[in-house]
């Protein structure tokens, strides 16, 4: 089911209001386009904004975009089972309205407290500027600061929890407490071990022992910790060159290039591929790094509805037919940018559909596999393998090593021509340092394990465990009555709790039950769609997942979040096997 767009206008209104007041990347996105001479806006969707402007028919939203998909067939051998479609269940308008009410209340109270503080009626813990700088123009603009000071700070204890161990299946959190409502934290020096369902440790390679850690440590003896030089000035180490060759082989393409940060891989390389005469068509829910890449490239940008092939095709057709509205010339090239698994939605992009459209209209495709590489497909080769597509049909395969590989950095893979161009033209080559050798070695080793080069079936077993865990965990959550977005095959599991105020509650209650979760709300998600996000890992045991599920059941009973789903009866009698 494609994502239905919330038809109520308040959504649009609130988003507009917020967008005008913030400069957060996801929101600031659309502003520039409006200013830059207002190229056509109709039926275009904003990033992080569920509201489409045109009066599109309901059927259009509901059209199933994914081909070759059948629903659940539990109990089959997981290798032969069918792919699950993305699901986005929606709550009623009235419920959405109550969510807005909660926002309005929250913001009103924020202003009331601001007022009280200004008049000295409430003790203020706000960080103030140095006395001698107080005549400077204030650093932070009003709305953002009010939001931070009054909404974020109050639930700050559920975010940025520092850890004191490997982020594996379990993680030790540093205990901390606050005496001033979240402004500062004190650390008594103790740690609590909790089940970790927040880290992107999909294949369980975040380990402090075993072959990867050993290899990384040995590499320090051979090549040191850093090369202290840029890539072009003799900085590209042997270990990085070796890694690049392995990545290309793993993905089944000609060549690959690695960078030392995933975020910068997107934001610095997108500008090498397109210029101001080109068009970027970007998915509504693309990651901030891709949005920054689009912005830095100077190309025109249009946004299509999340994973909606009709919306993509319409934009493609119009873009080619009408050309660039600023110059009245045809675009020189069109680049479609999508992700493999969307990190906040848990949905898997419809790659076959996109490849078909890309071929039909002669566009190019940039696929960010940050969350899917290693985690999807029978042998961990990402969504390309999951869908059975040819990797050579994707022009740019991008991914990061921070997730499944338990390391750091990012890669771009593709044809030799593309990679040669990036090697020469990418600014990161001239100005930034290459990967640290032990970090490259961790990736090399974990990738070899996934590929089975270590002579064991460890890699295969991890991938299978992850697939079983994800499916089991997702279906059980649905059985509890929660609304879970995305496909049942995806290890990213967003559970909708809607109310922004629920975030703090869930974060704290789950921690009290020994579980570390990630809660997110605006601006990382739509306003009405605060959620708890779980990242399932191959390192989790079934017992650990059951503990998490039990906790979710208890907390769900205390709130009304586990009664939202109207599909509960579908799962009630289902026997869910691990």
């Amino acid at each position: 089911m494609s994502r239905r767009v919330n038809p109520i206008c308040i959504d649009d209104f609130m988003n507009r209001q917020l967008t005008e007041r913030t400069d957060i990347l996801e929101c600031a996105w659309h502003k520039r386009q409006q200013e830059d001479g207002g190229h056509s806006e109709d039926e275009e969707t904003k990033h992080r904004d569920g509201h489409a402007r045109g009066d599109l028919e309901e059927e259009e939203y509901l059209a199933p975009p994914a081909p070759r998909v059948k629903t659940f067939s539990i109990g089959d051998d997981w290798k032969t089972r069918e792919r699950s479609p993305n699901e986005f269940e929606h709550i009623s308008r009235w419920r959405a309205l109550t969510v807005y009410l909660s926002w309005v209340t929250l913001i009103m109270f924020a202003y009331v407290r601001e007022f009280l503080r200004n008049w000295g009626l409430e003790t203020s813990h706000i960080k103030i500027e140095l006395g001698k700088q107080k005549h400077f123009v204030p650093l932070f603009n009003d709305f953002e600061a009010v939001y931070q000071r009054n909404c974020y700070v109050r639930v700050r204890d559920v975010f940025e929890r520092p850890i004191g161990s490997t982020p594996g299946a379990k993680v030790s959190l540093l205990d901390r407490y606050t005496e001033d409502g979240g402004w500062t934290f004190k650390f008594p020096g103790t740690q609590t071990e909790v089940i970790n369902v927040g880290s992107y440790n999909y294949l369980g390679f975040a380990q402090n022992k075993g072959p990867c850690a050993d290899a990384a440590s040995t590499k320090i003896n051979d090549e040191g910790l850093a090369t202290c030089s840029t890539v072009h000035e003799n900085g590209r180490s042997i270990s990085q060159a070796r890694l690049e060759a392995l990545v290309a082989k793993f993905l089944g393409v000609n060549d690959a290039i690695c960078f030392s940060m995933g975020f910068a891989t997107n934001s610095m390389n997108a500008p090498c591929l397109v210029d101001k005469h080109s068009l970027i068509i970007s998915d509504q829910y693309n990651h901030a790094s891709l949005i920054l890449g689009c912005r830095l490239s100077g190309a025109s940008t249009k946004v299509f509805k999340h994973n909606d092939m009709k919306s993509l095709e319409k934009i493609l057709r119009d873009a080619i037919a009408y050309g660039n509205p600023k110059t009245y010339r045809p675009y020189k090239k069109i680049l479609i940018i999508v992700e493999g698994i969307y990190s906040m939605e848990g949905s898997i992009s419809n790659l076959p559909g996109i490849i078909e459209l890309k071929k039909k209209y002669g566009a190019y495709l940039y696929l960010d596999e940050a969350h899917s590489i290693g985690a999807m497909g029978r042998s961990g080769r990402g969504v390309v393998e999951y869908w059975g597509c040819d990797p050579n049909d994707v022009d740019i395969l991008m991914g990061t090593f921070t997730k499944s590989f338990g390391s750091a950095g990012g890669y771009i893979a593709g044809s030799k021509k593309v990679i040669d161009h990036l090697r020469v033209a990418s600014p990161t080559g001239y100005y930034s340092s290459p990967m640290s050798p032990p970090i490259a070695e961790q990736i090399y080793k974990s990738m070899s394990i996934i590929m089975g080069f270590d002579g064991t079936n460890d890699g295969e077993a991890r991938i299978e465990r992850l697939a079983r865990n994800s499916r089991y965990f997702r279906l059980r959550l649905k059985q509890l009555g929660y609304i879970v977005y995305g496909s049942n095959d995806s290890p990213v599991v967003p559970v909708l709790i809607y109310y922004p105020t629920m975030c703090g509650f869930y974060g704290r209650q789950m921690l009290a039950r020994g579980i570390g979760v990630v809660v997110v709300s605006f601006p990382a998600t739509d306003m009405t769609e605060a959620r708890v996000r779980f990242c399932v890992s191959a390192a989790h045991t079934k017992e650990q997942l059951d503990t998490v599920l039990n906790a979710m059941k208890e907390v769900g009973r205390e709130t009304w979040c586990s009664s939202f789903s109207s599909h509960k009866q579908l799962y009630e009698k289902m026997k869910i096997e691990w």
Binding site: I8, C9, I10, M14, D23, A28, R32, R53, V104, L106, F136, V137, N141, E160, P162, G164, L174, N196, S199, F205, Q207, N208, K209, A213, S217, I220, G224, L225, A226, H232, R236, I238, S260, A264, M268, R317, I320, A321, P330, L335, A363, T402, G406, S407, A408, K417, D420, H421, R423, V424, Y430, Y431, S432, S433, P438, Q442, T501, G504, F505, G516
Partner: protein, 282 residues
Amino acid sequence: MFATLLGIFGEASTLHYALETFLIAAVTFLYFRRREVKDSRVKLTEKQKDELIAEWKPEPLVPDTPQDHPVLNPRFIDGKMTKYVKIEGKEYLNMVTSNFLGFVGEQRIEDVAKKTIFKYGVGSCGPRGFYGTVDVHLDLEKELAQFFGCEEAVLYSYGFATIASAIPAYAKRGDVIFVDKGVNFAIQKGLQASRARVEWFEHNDMEDLERLLELQAEKDKRDSVKAGKTRRFMVVEGIYANSGEICPLQKLMEFKWQHKVRIFIDESYSFGVLGKTGRGKL
């Protein structure tokens, strides 16, 4: 949190009703408001579009790269980048690395790094907000802040991205940034991402900077409302990566106080190098 809010409501019932009525009225109003859509473009029919699409020839994604480009034929250095390096078996004196204090290959540092791997693993598997902050990060931040005598410090995982994200974090649209013409590429990207107005002054030319600051002061006099909202920044480097020149910080600090301009200083090259204790230009 919601519960406490409701609690507050319960106590003051008059306030409660007044507020609630207002909220519901406001929300209902917005709820039923529709935005009209307008479209002024010439409409093409689907058939016309098909023809145009058939005609359209995209350019190749990337141009050809000459295969003899030095970057495509690199030479690899065996082992560590210490004082002498080995390339293809031959030993050379190393003059390319910016490892000014010669810490590469230092046994004590490498031992600590190894211990860290065996305690925490290699990657943190998450952003800072979601279980990606390790206690080592907090310790280092504290130590850095102490070293520089600042209130706080924040770490980034990639040097290149640090300044490029720090600038847009503070400088927004409508603000003004005074920048030296000789700044490095990362700073330029940060300026671009911030979308503030950028005023370039000649490299290390304080008179030129003064001229620009005075121009700005005049503008401010004319429009004092806008001036009250325009944050202003200067961006310079301690030692310029491109030219190796040192910035005249004293003069810049004078300007800072005189014109109330905040200052960013990129000390990538001067940190640990200049000053008696390596605290850079400060």
